[in-house]
Each structure stands twice: as C-alpha cells, then as structure tokens.
C-alpha cells in the first residue's frame, strides 16, 4: 500500500503498477513519538505523518514538497529508516508549459524509482483505465475547505450538519480532467506530459503561485456555507482564510485544530452553533417537541419554562413565566459534574420562585455541559443562546463579547437577536479569565483587587507576551525591576484588551450597534476600561450579563411554547 498526502500525487501511476494508494491523514491521539525526534512547533499534520511512520502504519510513502513542513518531514522520516520506500516528488508552483514539462519529468523519475524498488513493470492500459469519472451533481451543500479534515472531525461535521457536506480541503475533491481514449494514442513522453497537465490543472491548492483560480470554489451558487479548517502552524490556509473572509457571501465558520483527535473533539460547540446559524435553531427532531403532558399544563394558562447554562465555572438557571417575564434566576458554582450542578441550581431557582417544579413545561440546556444533562427537552449552543439573551436585555446590541474562564467569544447579532457571525479563541488561555487569575496569583493579590488597581496607573508599561507562561515571567521581571504594580496591571489589561479587540475587529468593524460584554470578566473594571479604549466604544454591561446564556436558553423554550399555543 502506497501512502500519499497531497492531491497532486500521481496515484494513477501506481495503479499502473497494480498497486493501491491511500491518503495518510489519520488524526492521532497525541504526538508522543514524533515529539521525541522532531521540534514541537512543526505543524500537526507533519507530526501526524512522522507519528504514523514511527508506529509502523506506513512504510511506503510518497511525499510532495508542498510546504516547508513537508520538506522537513521527508528529512526526518527518511532519517528514521523506517520506510521501505520513501520518495519526495518535486511539485512546481506554477502550471505553465515549462512547469508542466518539468513535472512530467519528475513523475517519470518517480516511476523509475518505484520500478527499481518494486521490480514491477508499468502497464499503460491499467494506468489509463484507473482514471475515475465524476458525475456532476447540483445540490446545495456545505463546503469543508482549507486544510485536510479527517477522522473524528469529518464524522462530527457530517453528523451535525443536515445539508450535504462536500470535502473541498487540500486533499478532498481530487478531480483530473482526462480523456482516456485520447490518452491511449499517446507515446510515453506525451502521455506523461498529458498526465502532468491534468494533475496541475486541478483546482489549485493555496500553495500554488496562481491561486486566484480558487475563486471558483467560493462562487459556486450551490455553496450554502463554508466550514474552513486550519491547522496550528500551517500558515497557508490561515493566510487564505484571512484574505478571503471579507468577500464571502455565505456563512463562514473557521475551525482550528492541531490535528489531534482530542483537539477536534473540542469543536462540537462551534459546529453545532454554525448549523444553528444556517439551518435554524429549531430542531427538526420530533422527539424534542412539546409533549402531551406539557400541552395539557399550558392550557391552564399558568406555566413556566427554564434555561440552564452549564458553564465551566458556574451553572446558571433562568425561569420565565407564561408571559416571558423573568420569574427567578440562580447562579451556583459548577461542582460535582454538570448533571448534579444543573439539578441543584434548578431546584434552588424553583425554591426561590416559590413555584411547583412540575409547572415547568420546557427546559432548554446550553453551555459546555449541555449534553450531559438529562432533564432538558432540548439543547442549544451557548453562542446562539448568548445572542438571544443579549438581544432580550438590550435590543440595540449588535456585538456580544463574552470572556469566560476558558474562552473568549465575539458574536455578531442581527436586529432579531440571531447570530450572523461568531469567533472564538483557540484553546490557548491567552486573554481569558484563567489568564487573569494566573496573573493575579503571580502578583499575589486577589482578582477583585486587581480589577480596580490598574485604574491608578501612571507609567505606560507594555506587556508584549500574551502566552500565559511568557507573560508570567515578564511580570515577574517587572516586579523585580520595582515597577509599580498598578502600572503592571494596566499593562496586562491593555494586552488582554488588545487580544479581545482584535477578535472583535475580525468580526468586522462595520457593525453599527452597541457592544455588550458578558461572562465573568465583565466584572473587571480595568479590563472594561482598556477594552472600551481599544474598541473606541462604550460597552453595555448589566447585572444580568452573567445570566445571558441561561436567559437565551429559557427564551428558546418560551418561543417554542408560544408557537405551540
């Protein structure tokens, strides 16, 4: 079995040798073995190839000099001497005549090398017959683009998107336009030139010099949305995403992994929220509708709905009455699992409202723990819920900035409170509540004190590192230099504001409405001031801000009941 990594690989050539090919793009659990021989900052995909070779999963490998990482992967893999056959195919960056001829010669070089290694002979007929044909389909679809997507991530996307999903990443959509009958008439030189022409004639990957042809991908009228995948340390597609995103007419979701299955698993919320944005948050599943018992209760005219937001730090509940008014709210720290905390928080909210728990006809759950709570009738991501809640609290809000314990979200909403776009930080803690907690600990003061202390600053200190580890050592050395603590905190606040401000700016500055800030960090006065300066706008903050997610969930439950009435 010949393994390959790039759609420009001449796999039909190997069919001509009677050999089968498979793309090597398994997402490993970790890079334990790769990290022992290669630098940790190599791109995740590169590391996955090294890992696969070390685990003995691929011993015949054809690589293409796609990028700097792949060139080094070749060096490293070759050095392990674990592959029986390893070849680096030189792929030009252009597709004009000189490059085609050069690529044809490179393919012939690969053919010779494989012949020598395997002792097999190349069969022209078998080669020509192996070209696949593609039926034209004209259905609406969601395109998965950017860099390769496989394994758990691919499954997760397929499962959570109801529309057709097309893999148009750098390894997907391999299509060669050839005419097999014409090819039969060619001599070997002409044949390989035609083959090189067909390979280079594919929709170019972003690494090619003339990548403007990629516009075809984005302009297809059947394309209804894009999930754009990038891998940490693979700059090509991160760069393409940044340069195209403003011109996209369809909803666009960017997801980033380090190409481990574990990093892919963390993307569920984003993919579900994206599906809610394009396919509506109303669930098609009849089982999630309103039951007969609940309908009976609703007839009495007095009933309640609840939203539960199961977050990493707290579990919040909001109960609304039959008129959509807030009846009761509750915030308790999350402890002892999502399920237990949810039940406890709900019970306390019921107690506070002095109502009968059975009068709650519908519960919608949201937040990280939403999938683990049995008592809910439906679950919706916190992104959609935050938008809904924010709109309820202040209908003029068009951008919600939510800084929680472990992530930062910037959400764009329309005049009805529906999500139009959203961005989240990656799994790095930079700029999150956890980052601030770490810094408070380094400075040896409680978070509450830190939140106001920075307001008294005098000297403008710049903290350049956003990495929690580096920033900590920067703070330590500033303390050692006897710098004023207020100035250091101000420096930290500005650096967090700059990170969050950049996220908001990426959503588009044109958003006309107000900004609202939610999440635990909304209590930090220093951050708020720095962020307002960065954004050049006032932030709307209210006491209910922390309940925004639970409120949104309750509003979804309420809306469902009203529709039923």
């Amino acid at each position: 079995m010949i393994y390959y990594v790039c759609k420009y690989t001449p796999i039909e050539l190997f069919e001509g040798f009677g050999e089968t090919c498979a793309v090597l793009e398994e997402m490993p659990e970790n890079f334990e073995e790769s990290d022992q021989i290669a630098h940790a900052n190599l791109c995740g995909f590169g590391k996955s190839v090294i890992q696969a070779v070390l685990e003995g999963k691929a011993d015949e490998l054809v690589l293409v000099n796609c990028c700097d990482s792949m060139r080094r992967v070749y060096d490293i893999v070759k050095n392990t001497k674990k592959c029986k056959f390893i070849y680096m195919l030189d792929l030009p960056h252009d597709d004009n005549e000189c490059e085609k001829e050069k690529f044809a010669r490179a393919i012939c070089g690969l053919k010779d090398a494989y012949e020598k290694y395997s002792g097999k002979t190349f069969d022209k007929t078998r080669f020509i017959n192996s070209f696949a044909t593609f039926p034209a389909k004209n259905n609406p679809y969601i395109g998965v683009m950017g860099v390769r997507v496989s394994g758990v991530l691919e499954e997760m996307i397929q499962e959570n998107i109801q529309m057709n999903v097309k893999n148009l990443t750098c390894t997907g959509g391999r299509k060669l336009s050839v005419l097999p009958d014409e090819m039969k008439k060619l001599n070997e030189n002409e044949l390989f030139l035609a083959y090189a022409d067909a390979l280079l004639g594919q929709l170019p990957c972003f690494r090619m010099n003339q990548s403007s042809r990629r516009n075809e991908l984005y302009l297809d009228p059947n394309l209804k949305g894009i999930i754009y995948h990038t891998i940490k340390f693979c700059d090509y597609y991160g760069f393409e995403y940044a340069s195209i995103k403003k011109n996209m007419k369809v909803p666009l979701l960017k997801i980033e992994t380090d190409f481990t299955s574990q990093s892919a698993g963390q993307l569920l919320t984003r993919i579900q929220a994206f599906s809610e944005t394009i396919e509506g948050s109303e669930d098609m599943d009849a089982a999630k509708g309103i039951g007969e018992e609940a309908k009976e209760k609703m007839k009495s005219g007095v009933y309640y709905v609840a939203g539960i937001d199961s977050g990493s730090t707290s579990t919040d509940v909001v109960i609304l009455d039959q008129d959509g008014k807030i009846k009761s709210t509750m915030i308790i720290p999350t402890g002892g699992g999502a399920m237990m905390s949810a039940e406890k928080s709900l019970e306390k909210a019921v107690e506070k409202a002095e109502i009968n728990k059975d009068d709650i006809v519908r519960i919608v759950t949201t937040g990280y723990g939403r999938a683990y709570i049995d008592s809910g009738d439906d679950s919706i991501t916190e992104i959609t819920c935050h938008a809904k809640g924010a709109h309820y609290l202040n209908p003029n809000v068009r951008t919600v900035i939510d800084i929680g314990g472990q992530d930062i979200k910037a959400i764009s909403i329309d005049e009805n409170g529906a999500v139009t776009n959203f961005l989240m930080n990656d799994k790095c803690a930079a700029g999150t509540g956890r980052f601030l907690e770490m810094m408070a600990r380094t400075l040896g003061m409680p978070l509450e004190e830190m939140s106001t202390k920075g307001l008294e600053w005098k000297e403008n200190i710049v903290i350049s590192s956003m990495c929690t580890v580096f920033a900590e050592s920067e703070v330590v050395s500033l303390v050692a230099q006897n710098k004023n603590v207020a100035d250091i905190i101000h420096g930290l606040n500005v650096s967090v504001a700059s990170k969050v401000g950049a996220l908001a700016a990426r959503l588009g500055k044109k958003n006309p409405g107000e900004y609202m800030m939610t999440g635990g960090v909304a209590k930090n006065k220093g951050i708020i001031q720095a962020l307002e300066e960065k954004l050049g706008a006032k932030l709307y903050i209210c006491d209910e801000a922390q309940l925004c997610g639970a409120l949104g969930a309750a509003l979804f439950a309420y809306k469902k009941c009203k529709n039923e009435e």
């Binding site: 791109c43 030189d90 010099n209």
Partner: protein, 424 residues
C-alpha cells in the same frame, strides 16, 4: 532613550492616523542615524563593521524615500540583476529588522492580528504585511520573489502584488539540485532581466550583468579568504554585523559596496590577533535585538562568531561561466533548498574551517524549514563532534520569546563549551 527609539515611539502612534506622516518621521530618524554613523561611528567595531552599518542604513533610506525606484523582493532574489537594473531592493527581513529596531513592530503586528493572519506565521513577514496594510510601506516599482527559502514568500508577495497593483515576477526554484534545475532557473533569470527592462523602461546591458556577477565573484573570493583565516584571527564581532552581512550577499549582491565590504572584512581579519575566547558557529538568522543575546555576543572578547552559515552561503563560490547560470547555481545550491543534508554538510565544514567550539542554531518562530530541521542538524553536528544548541526565539517579535529563558540557555551553553575547551 536614543534617537531611533524616540522616533519609533512617535511613528507607532502616528502610523494609525497618518501613515505618510509616520513614514516621513521614521525617515527623518533614519537620516539622523545615518549622519550619526558617519560622524560618530562605533569605534568598538572594525572598519568593515562601521562601513556595513552605514551602507545598509543608506539602502533602507533609499527604499523608503524613493519607492518609485525600489523593488520589493524576497531575500534570495539575486541582487546582482537589481544592481544591474539600478533598482534599490528591499526585503521582508531587512525592512522588518529595521522596524523592530525602532520599536514600532508591535503596531504592525497588531494590524495583522486584526486582519486574522496566523500568529504562527514568521514575524518578519507579519511585521512587513502589517506595515503594508497600514499604508506605511510605500508602493514599490515592482515585486520579485521566489519560493526559496520559505513558504512566507508564497503568501506575502502574491498578496502584496495584488494589494499594490504592481508588476510581479516569480522565480521557481526546484527542490532537486542538478544541472537541469540550474538551467531551468537560469532561463527564468534571463526572463527576469527582460521584465526589469520593461518595468524600468531602461535597457540592461549584458556588460552590466557581467559586471555585477563579477563583483559577486570578487566578494565571494574575499569572503572565503577571510573565512580561512578565522581559525587564528578573532576580530571584534557583533550579531548586528552578521545580520548586515546577509543583506550584503543577497540584496546588495553585485554592488561595488559588497566588494568593498568583503575587502575591508578581509583586512580587519588579517589585522586581528588571536583571541582567547570561544569560537561559535551561528546558524540561521540573528535575534540581534534581544538583550541577553547582545550581552553574550556583541564585542565580547570571550565569544567570537567565527562563521555564520547564512552569510557563508550567500558568499558561496559560483562556478558556471555564464552569468545567469552562475546566479542560478547560487540559488539552486543554496543550503536552504532541497533536503537538509547539504545544510548539515556546510555547517560541519564551516565549523571545521574556523575551529568552532560549538554551534548555535537559531530556531526563529514561524520558520518551519529551520524548526523542522533543527533536531536533525543538532544530532548530526553533535555526531560530528560539535556541541550544538537549538535556541528557540523570535528575531523581531519579543512577544514570542523570553529574555530570561534565552539568557539561561546561552549562559549554560557557554559554560558547557568553556568546560569542554578546558578539558581539551
């Protein structure tokens, strides 16, 4: 705070409001610095060091003040042809180093962050892109780039070509190193000359190209001669000077200035006595702004940079008699092209030739080619008997590196090398 710092701070705040004004400010600062270099040169440096500082400063000033006569290039584009065409080349690395040297890089980095460009991308490219996006970098006459030696080029240059609407020329350098590849590149370089004639509307004579290539051969000759003497001669060195040398063998290759620089360098080396310090082979680009690195390497009698692979590669001997083939040969045979083997061989040879006690490979953040090769380079050189350290860091963005960590690593490595020398 020195002149440059002051101007840098002013530039940072002016950039976002009025980029033209910011550029004028920075230019004024650079011109003052140029005057200072002429009137009060750094007496601690040998004459070649003082000369190169002046020339590189002049090049940057020219590029920024006369953009209509400048070419935005990637660093491995043969400077000889630009010299022959009479254009001032400026590269991503050179420009970003100067921006970082004047403390205005963070403004540009933030701009790229807002644009959503990956933070894992090379900081030289990000600073440069940010400077272009803010309107700080003026529109050049044209842009010329090659895939050698990093992916950053294949993103930055096509993007900026579109953004500035300027003519662009791309040189494809194959992975394989053979005569066929040299001819393939030589043919493109001949086309490049025609492109340059079209762009400048000036004829480029065969003699001008011959002359530039002959200058490069002469510079290479001088450089190689001084290299052979480094075993027993230890001129005062600084990392900043090594960085400037990179610009002399690429951007300013083929110029009279490059010849004069190498000639002065040879004289300085001949004059310098043998010092008592350690010989270190520096590999890849230099984090010339980082304080602990400066503390260890600049003007330090206990530490001599005996050679740098990036510079030695730029001043490599060109064999082909045809000028275009000679230039193509330099590109194809570049240590950054192809597999890592040649890079290791060159490092080994340089270490042997200059009697190096140890090697430092700078793994610049975002440079996937070097980061990926680092562990192989280290293990191979150590097998050959050269203690080698991988120094992770960032050449122009302090946010990606930590002074304390770099200082500890460098000091510990020095202590280790000193112990090794004593034992010998």
């Amino acid at each position: 705070m020195n002149i440059i710092d002051k101007f840098g701070n002013m530039v940072s705040s002016a950039t976002l409001k009025d980029s033209e004004k910011a550029r004028r400010l920075l230019l004024a600062g650079y011109r003052l610095q140029e005057k200072r270099l002429c009137l009060f040169p750094d007496r601690a440096l040998p004459s070649s060091g003082r000369y190169v500082a002046k020339i590189v400063m002049k090049n940057i000033i020219q590029a920024l003040s006369r953009p209509e006569n400048s070419a935005m290039v990637s660093i491995f584009v043969p400077g000889e042809l630009l010299t022959a065409a009479g254009l001032t080349p400026y590269s991503v690395e050179a420009m970003s180093c100067f921006m970082a040297g004047t403390n205005c890089e963070q403004t540009f980095l933030r701009r790229t962050e807002e644009e959503g460009f990956p933070e894992t991308m090379c900081s030289y490219h990000r600073v440069f892109l940010g400077a272009a996006l803010t309107g700080f970098l003026p529109k050049p006459k044209c842009t010329i780039y090659t895939n050698l030696a990093c992916d950053g080029n294949m993103m930055t240059f096509p993007y900026l070509k579109e953004k500035y609407h300027v003519p662009g020329f791309y040189i494809d350098v194959p992975y394989e190193k053979n005569q066929e590849a040299i001819e393939y590149v030589a043919e493109q370089l001949r086309e490049l000359t025609i492109f340059l004639e079209d762009v400048t509307k000036r004829k480029i004579s065969g003699e001008a190209v011959e002359k530039a290539v002959a200058n490069s051969r002469k510079a290479s000759e001088y450089y190689q001669q001084q290299l052979a003497l480094r075993k027993d001669h230890d001129p005062v060195t600084s990392l900043t000077n090594e960085l400037y040398a990179i610009f002399m063998c690429h951007l300013l290759a083929g110029s009279e200035e490059a010849v004069k620089y190498t000639e002065l360098l040879l004289k300085d080396v001949k004059k310098a006595p043998k010092g008592g310090g350690l010989h270190v082979l520096w590999m890849h680009i230099m984090p010339f702004l980082q304080q602990p690195v400066k503390d260890v390497f600049n003007y330090n009698p206990k530490m001599h940079i005996s050679a740098c692979d990036f510079v030695a590669d730029g001043f490599q001997k060109m064999h082909a008699s045809d000028p275009y083939e000679a230039l193509a040969e330099k590109m194809v045979n570049c240590i950054y092209n192809g597999s890592v083997d040649q890079r290791i061989q060159v490092a080994e040879k340089l270490a042997k030739e200059t009697n190096a006690d140890g090697g430092i490979l700078f793994a610049h953040w975002g440079c996937k080619g070097t980061i990926g090769a680092s562990s192989l380079i280290k293990s191979s050189l150590e097998e050959a008997g050269l203690p080698t350290m991988i120094l992770d860091g960032d050449g122009c963005n302090p946010a990606n590196t930590s002074d304390g960590q770099v200082s500890t690593r460098l000091q510990a490595f020095m202590e280790m090398l000193e112990k090794g020398k004593e034992d010998r």
